[in-house]
């Protein structure tokens, strides 16, 4: 089994989907000959041909709109948005059409498309390349939002997203693209959507996070165990909409403490949603207030300050110690 980085796992999943289903077509800017600006689609046009891996003109609303039309005709388009800050022109198409078509035609037409997009800061990129915008899409009915946090989950969740009969926005944390390698078996097996993944078991507190922030969250959990003898459970949300609350509630029921970690700005971020749901359904099982460790409510800074913006291991650790105070 080969050890691959997250971006290579994405490539493996795309290749597998292209090989398994003739209706799968990739489209996006610079994804063909160039293999994508992050190289997620490298070699795929060469292998599957220009009718399966399409370089499109440069227009993001067009990419989303084309994918909707293709999907409604029974194809399985997997569209790539080049950089996170370029995704906003797709919002009209996604909210007004991708998420609505099944409902408004009472199931006559559906949109089995995937919109892949990079997400998050931490790679010294130019302006408009470092945004975390998952909560914008999580607020749209009829659309799934998925974010993997490792090569294994990138492979399995992307396959699941492509096979899903409804639209999925699939965010790929650019900071993890090449950070760690993992053994990924290219077995064509999807991982379940709408399900959290428990990455570390513990009994003193529960961390909930997703995407690249799990890297810092797991490190904080390791340090807490090592230096403070604190046993922290770490939950990877995996699918950010709809959220698997049962796994979170079960965990919080045991630990009584919840810290939510995300890179996106705090206000109206998904952390607020998780906190509100847990407060409504499990307030009396909590032994401390729920805490959020998030990006600030500021414009994503240029890269000199990006690490000051993103939650650090230390900020996460301190939040944990605060909820553990007797």
């Amino acid at each position: 089994m080969a050890k691959v980085a997250l971006v290579e796992a994405v490539n493996l999943a795309l290749a597998r989907a292209l090989a398994d289903d003739p209706q799968v077509v990739l489209l996006g800017e610079d994804i063909g000959m160039n293999g994508g600006v992050f190289r997620a689609t490298v070699g795929l046009q060469e292998r599957f041909g220009p009718n399966r891996v399409l370089d499109t003109p440069l227009a993001e609303s067009m990419i989303a709109g084309l994918a909707i039309g293709m999907a409604a005709m029974g194809m399985r388009p997997v569209a790539e948005i080049q950089f996170s800050g370029f995704i906003y022109p797709t919002i009209d198409q996604m909210i007004n059409h991708a998420g609505r078509l099944r409902t408004r035609t009472r199931g006559r037409l559906s949109v089995p498309m995937v919109l892949r997009a990079p997400s998050g800061a931490g790679i010294h990129a130019p302006e408009h390349h470092s945004e975390s915008n998952e909560s914008l899409f999580a607020h749209m009915p009829g659309i799934r939002v998925v974010m993997p946090s490792s090569p294994t989950r990138a492979y399995g969740l992307l396959l699941a997203a492509i096979q899903d009969p409804d639209p999925v926005v699939f965010f790929e944390p650019t900071r993890l693209y090449r950070l760690n390698k993992q053994e990924v078996e290219d077995n064509g097996q999807p991982l379940p959507l709408d399900t959290c993944f428990v990455l570390r078991e513990g009994h003193d507190l529960t961390f909930v996070s997703w995407g690249a922030m799990l890297h810092e969250t797991l490190e904080a959990a390791r340090l807490l165990a090592e230096t403070e003898r604190v046993s922290a459970e770490v939950i990877d949300l995996g699918t950010l909409s709809p959220i698997d609350y049962e796994t979170i509630l079960e965990s919080v029921g045991r630990t009584g403490r919840l810290v939510i970690v995300h890179e996106a700005p705090r206000t109206a971020g998904l952390g607020a949603e998780v906190a509100a749901e847990v407060a409504e359904r499990a307030l009396y099982e909590l032994e401390a207030p729920i805490m959020r460790v998030t990006g600030y409510d500021v414009v994503t800074p240029f890269f000199k300050l990006e690490h000051d913006f993103m939650p650090s291991v230390d900020r996460i650790r301190r939040a944990a110690l605060q909820v553990l105070e007797p």
Binding site: S61, M62, G69, R102, R106, P165
Partner: protein, 361 residues
């Protein structure tokens, strides 16, 4: 300095049937197809009968806001007639003539404007998209469907309609550009009815024609008299045929006039003169086709009387079916959000249904 002409373009404008109902110039092939001419006429009269009934229903509180198609009948019906059943139509929101031709039911149109999603389920039209109220978004869906046809080597065509105002949207340009770049089997019909709610064409664009917007995308563009059913039918037939045989996309600007308010929620007297509307009324499409049919002895007063009665009967039956529809079950709100309802939505659904049964629902 050296200056040469890098490219040169022109836009043709075509019409066959003048407002008086007389043929001008060489007639198109369709003129010898009496049967088709009569079918077109019958459908145009049916659509107008339906339209006036729908407005009456809205005025008496029996329908929500409704977008009339008064004056557009030739453009809409001709598009339907020029398409094949396996083609796919992507409307904006008043193309009832095309839709009725393609098997959408009048009670479904009423249900849509009556606030009921069963109106967009189209029980006898499995392929076509429902109305697209956000302006110009549908042009990209048509291009996407055409891309699917091309990739799968299917001899099918996507046809979409957009208004004059819609051609100012980015999605419209993006769709035309994609259609040109990929060589897609798609036809864009611009139903230029001169008014985007209260904004006249002159304020919408500095272009002399909307057809010329095709030029920048490398597509052929033509202008036709949109109240001349022969001209629209011929242009769409030509464009659809070209698309079907690998010749790529086209743009057709159909010049028509919105004789009604924008919707029943609008009052066009606020922004345009009665004289302008009166003048446009003289060029409306149904009268001129009737004059042609009559002059060619293809249509009699008896047939006209029978048609009016038949249209009335069909519309009444549709209104009856619409009114019998009732309110959909509350569960319908949830059940089509995803192919399979996720756990969190199952909980919301159960709660909503429990409340429906209680006094507080």
């Amino acid at each position: 300095m050296s200056t040469t002409t890098a490219a040169r373009f022109e836009i043709k404008s075509r019409s066959y049937l003048n407002p008086e109902g007389r043929l001008v110039g060489t007639p198109p092939a369709i003129v010898s197809d009496s049967d088709l001419l009569k079918r077109l006429y019958r459908m145009m009269v049916l659509v107008r009968t339906f339209d006036s009934k729908a407005i009456a229903l809205q005025r008496t509180g029996q329908l929500g806001t409704y977008a009339s198609c008064l004056g557009h009948e030739a453009t809409h019906v001709a598009i339907g007639a020029a398409m094949m059943p396996e083609d796919v139509f992507f409307p904006m929101y008043r193309e009832y003539g095309t839709q009725l031709w393609r098997g959408v039911h009048m009670e479904e149109i009423l249900a849509f404007w009556g606030g009921d999603e069963r109106g967009t389920a189209f029980r006898d039209q499995p392929l076509d998209f429902p109305w697209a109220v956000p302006i110009a978004t549908q042009t990209l869906h048509a291009a996407g469907a055409a891309l699917a046809f091309k990739l799968r080597s299917e001899k099918r065509v996507a046809v979409t309609v957009i208004g004059d105002g819609g051609t100012s949207q980015g999605d419209f340009y993006e769709a035309l550009n994609a259609a040109g770049a990929f060589g897609l089997p798609v036809v864009f019909v611009i139903a230029n009815n001169q008014w985007a709610i209260s904004v006249p064409l002159k304020a919408q664009t500095a272009c002399e024609t909307l057809a010329q917007k095709a030029i920048a995308a490398g597509l052929p563009g033509i202008q036709v008299d949109g109240n001349d059913v022969l001209a629209v039918y011929e242009a769409v037939t030509e464009a659809v045929g070209r698309a079907r045989t690998g010749g790529g996309a086209s743009v057709i600007e159909a010049l028509t006039y919105r004789l009604s308010d924008h919707t029943t929620a609008d009052d066009a007297r606020r922004y345009r003169s009665a004289a302008e509307v009166e003048d446009a009324q003289k060029k409306e499409p149904i009268g001129r086709l009737k004059r042609l049919l009559t002059a060619r002895k293809l249509w009699s007063d008896e047939e006209e009387q029978a048609l009016i009665q038949d249209c009335q009967r069909q519309v009444d039956a549709a209104v009856h079916a619409y009114q019998a529809l009732g309110k959909p079950p509350r569960s319908d709100m949830f059940d089509y959000t995803f192919a399979e309802l996720p756990e969190s939505l199952q909980q919301e659904r159960a709660q909503a249904l429990a409340e429906e049964g209680s006094h507080h629902g």
